[in-house]
């Protein structure tokens, strides 16, 4: 069980935070991460319209053969994406705590510009404390 990476996608589909933890996925260039995040943003928008039973909050988990993507959408449109191994049980709690750290260390930081890449030392520290090396 492992946590491979964390993305934060702003409401326009831009990748504002990306960090890798445990090894196990191919490393990509920052540009490729940006493209993937934009693609996921689009897919997520489509999945939220696909529901046969009215409104939907969009995809929550996308499973692949070797990893799964856990997506959490906030009320303000920010998406937190956690890439984990298939058996990882703590993804949802971790995402909730990431949201908490984001609210505390990013949104209350006067030196952060909304919708811009997150360069907040406090957030990095909180995430390190939360996920560490990604091995759970």
């Amino acid at each position: 069980m492992a946590i491979f990476g964390l993305w934060v996608i702003n409401k326009a589909g831009g990748l504002v935070y990306q960090r890798n933890f445990a090894d196990g996925l191919t490393q990509m260039t920052s540009n490729e991460y940006l493209v993937l995040a934009g693609t996921l943003h689009g897919i997520h928008a489509i999945t939220s319209r696909l529901s046969p039973t009215g409104t939907s909050s969009g995809a929550h988990v996308i499973e692949a053969e070797t990893f799964k993507m856990n997506i959490s959408l906030t009320a303000t449109g920010t998406k937190f994406v956690l890439l984990t191994s298939l058996a990882e049980p703590s993804a949802n709690t971790v995402l909730q705590k990431v949201y908490e750290a984001y609210a505390d260390a990013v949104m209350k930081n006067p030196f952060h510009n909304p919708e811009m890449p997150i360069r907040s030392e406090g957030f990095d520290i909180r995430i390190t404390a939360l996920i560490g090396t990604g091995h759970t």
Partner: protein
């Protein structure tokens, strides 16, 4: 607004107003017109008035338990304060000076409120006239009144006789602030320094108070409030001996 047209439009049916008129900013008077504001109308009806919470100005001053402000709410406010000021200053020193001024305005009130709360009921009200007890009061009472916990340490400068330090390992107001690297000199605790300066001034110990980041491994946010006393204070302290 379109469903409840303000009274001065009552001769017109709401449909006779074009939608552009309803949406134009000059036409939004209904939002500000007093008779239709719900808060005013409920206040005048006697029955509901007793249910509503007392106005902030009518609450007793010496009740501290219910008078606490939520720290996250303050964090957002303080964040906006810093952003607002950052747009209007030319450098870090200027920003710190402005935060200090803002804190000073709070400090004068904190002192007054604190003395009122602590001494108004006592039979022999006292006032600190020696510097060290006054410093202890700031370390414990002011910090408790403002931040809900005492400061962590008081130190005296080894090199300079007129310098004292109050140390806070985890300052409440900067907990959510990450200063970018190119501004690493900035300490948002200048706000706290302003509070301390005002309290010292109010007690009759004029001083220049500044804030400095002094991080340690255990406490990355550790902050030192440096108090540089005016000469007159030291001379007066000498006379007491």
């Amino acid at each position: 607004m379109s469903t409840h047209p303000p009274s001065r439009f009552s001769v017109l049916s709401s449909s006779s107003l074009s939608s552009a008129e309803l949406l134009s900013p000059t036409n939004t008077s209904a939002r500000f017109s007093l008779p239709s504001a719900p808060s005013i109308t409920t206040a005048t009806t006697g029955n509901q008035k007793t249910l509503s919470r007392p106005n902030i100005y009518d609450r007793p001053l010496n009740k501290t338990r219910t008078a606490e402000v939520s720290a996250p709410a303050f964090a957002f406010l303080f964040s906006e304060v810093v952003q607002y000021m950052q747009k209007r200053v030319s450098g870090i020193n200027d920003l710190e000076r402005r935060l200090n001024t803002l804190g000073y305005r709070i400090g004068t009130r904190v002192l007054e409120l604190m003395v009122w709360r602590a001494e108004s009921t006592s039979k022999a009200p006292k006032r600190e006239i020696r510097f060290l007890p006054a410093l202890m009061t700031i370390h414990t009472n002011v910090w408790k009144a403002v931040f809900g916990k005492p400061a962590d340490a008081i130190e005296k400068s080894v090199q300079n006789d007129d310098e004292y330090m109050i140390i806070d390992n985890d300052p409440v107001i900067t907990r959510s602030i990450s200063v970018p690297r190119d501004m690493s000199q900035l300490s948002c605790s200048s706000f706290t320094a302003g509070i301390v300066e005002a309290v010292l001034d109010g007690l009759g110990f004029p001083a220049r108070v500044t804030a400095h980041n002094t991080p340690t491994n255990d406490f990355p946010l550790r902050n030192t409030i440096l108090i540089k006393l005016e000469k007159s204070v030291l001379e007066r302290e000498e006379l007491f001996k």
